[in-house]
């Protein structure tokens, strides 16, 4: 049985297969509309989420399956003090696959260790959000046609932004990706990501505080929100939250074929006037996330609809050494 804890547990070849499957689902949705008949997805969300939970539910419903679950810790037995491991043992008897979001880092891994069904990490605190990274990769591949030899600007909260850390870790495995890291001094990329991920893998990068200077170089601009919940000090949050605001004036500095991405929700960092610019692709990105989640659910459940579309196995090889995906 295979779980999904980190996008890095997929080899580059497996990621290609997963994205190929997502593309086929996107092109031929009818072919997959009964693939999960009789299967149930449990969504165990211990903290609020709009897109991720509904995206998972939409993915399962589009595959013909059903969903059940809870949307906050208050409406689950966690409010009575039940452990994550106990909850997952129980849910294993109710559903065929589970997506779990939890404010505590590592909770999905604990869940997977006690679960009888595949577990997907749907976000654990500031640690990881693998399906967001899968969605990001799939969006870039779909819209730019490749995942190698391009320049990506990552802007905003690079210190606490888990999506940024995961995306960098996933992209360094492709050749010729140049990173432009745009952030204030206080929210710079942590040194362990710079040294252990970028430098260790020979990736090229530059750091700047100026979004304007970076814009002309970029094939992809990945904006992030400064997240209030990651700060212990409210004053720091207030001071930094509006440091970067992407508006039409700044968009004029960008290339015509650049795309703008954002994991959403956005607050002020992308002005609504940018939404009408054809380069603004963050809503497309959210839509594409459903297809990659459909591909992931099929893969983890070991369901192959079309033998001509290769997909990763749900039994990870011993070479990869793990039960994780």
């Amino acid at each position: 049985m295979r779980h999904c804890m980190s996008p890095l547990d997929f080899s580059v070849d497996e990621l290609d297969q997963l994205m190929g499957l997502a593309a086929d689902i996107e092109e031929n949705p009818d072919k997959y509309s009964h693939a999960c008949d009789g299967k149930r997805l449990a969504t165990c969300f211990y903290e609020p989420s709009t897109r991720t939970r509904l995206s998972f539910e939409s993915a399962m419903l589009r595959l013909g399956g059903q969903t059940l679950g809870f949307a906050s810790a208050d409406s689950s037995s966690a409010s009575k003090g039940e452990s994550v491991s106990d909850t997952l043992r129980i849910i294993s008897g109710y559903a065929d696959i589970c997506a779990i979001r939890h404010p505590k880092e590592g909770a999905p891994l604990v869940a997977s260790l006690h679960s009888g069904i595949p577990v997907i990490n749907a976000g654990d605190g500031g640690h990881a959000h693998p399906t967001q990274t899968l969605a990001d990769l799939y969006t870039i591949k779909s819209l730019k046609g490749r995942l190698d030899h391009f320049t990506i600007g990552l802007c905003g909260d690079l210190k606490f932004g888990r999506t940024v850390h995961s995306l960098i870790s996933a992209l360094v495995r492709y050749e010729g990706v140049h990173f432009v890291l745009i952030s204030p001094e206080e929210l710079k990329l942590p040194s362990y990501i710079r040294e252990d991920v970028l430098e260790k893998n020979g990736a090229t990068y530059e750091e700047t505080e100026s979004l304007e200077d970076a814009m002309p170089k970029l094939d992809v601009l990945y904006m992030t929100r400064v997240q209030r919940e990651r700060f212990f000090n409210e004053d720091d949050y207030v001071r930094l939250k509006d440091r970067y605001i992407l508006d039409n004036d700044k968009m004029k500095l960008g290339r015509e074929d650049m795309i703008v991405m954002h994991p959403l929700p956005r607050v002020n960092e992308i002005s609504v006037e940018v939404d009408d610019d054809p380069r603004a692709q963050y809503f497309t990105q959210a839509k594409k996330a459903v297809f990659i989640r459909m591909a992931l659910i099929l893969t983890l459940l070991g369901i192959q609809v079309d033998k001509n579309i290769p997909q990763p196995t749900n039994n990870p090889s011993s070479e990869k050494g793990g039960e994780k995906c």
């Binding site: 491991s85 590592g106 640690h127």
Partner: protein, 146 residues
């Protein structure tokens, strides 16, 4: 001068930093070893270290996990004794996994709330001696134990 007899089979842990032998005693779970005789010599004079601790353990070979002490102190020397003779001097290595030796300090880690969960750390960078929590991947570089 304190005299402690030699051992027939077991280990002698020498050059332990003075005052830390009890910590090592507990880490190696020597109190749980049945049929083992343990002698702890504290604050012995040492030319090299000034003062040091020594632990002598009379036990069947292979019954203690020496890697754990590799995490605490590389400088500890281990003599392996069989039939009253030293048959090997073990070189201590950093253990690949530490289980319930150190505690994750990340307040956002699941280990802070989940009951009965083992504290597991994985060696991710042997050169820099960096361990990361299995669950939250927070790095741990201080030599502190539970």
């Amino acid at each position: 001068m304190l005299n402690i007899s030699g051992i027939h089979e077991g280990y002698v842990l020498d050059h332990i930093k003075a005052g830390t032998s009890m910590k090592i005693y507990h880490l190696l779970k020597l109190d749980e070893l049945k049929d083992a005789t343990v002698a702890i010599i504290m604050n012995a004079k040492s030319k090299k270290m000034g003062h040091k601790d020594i632990i002598k353990i009379e036990c069947p070979l292979g019954s203690i996990d020496l890697d754990t002490i590799g995490y605490i102190d590389h400088n500890i020397t281990v003599d392996v004794i069989k039939n009253d003779s030293i048959i090997a001097k073990e070189k201590l290595a950093l253990p690949k996994v530490l289980k319930n030796v150190i505690k994750c300090k990340n307040p956002r880690c699941i280990t802070s709330i989940e009951q009965g969960l083992d504290q597991v750390f994985i060696l991710t960078d042997a050169k820099k001696e960096i361990y990361r929590c299995r669950y939250c991947e927070e790095a741990y570089t201080e030599k502190e134990t539970i």
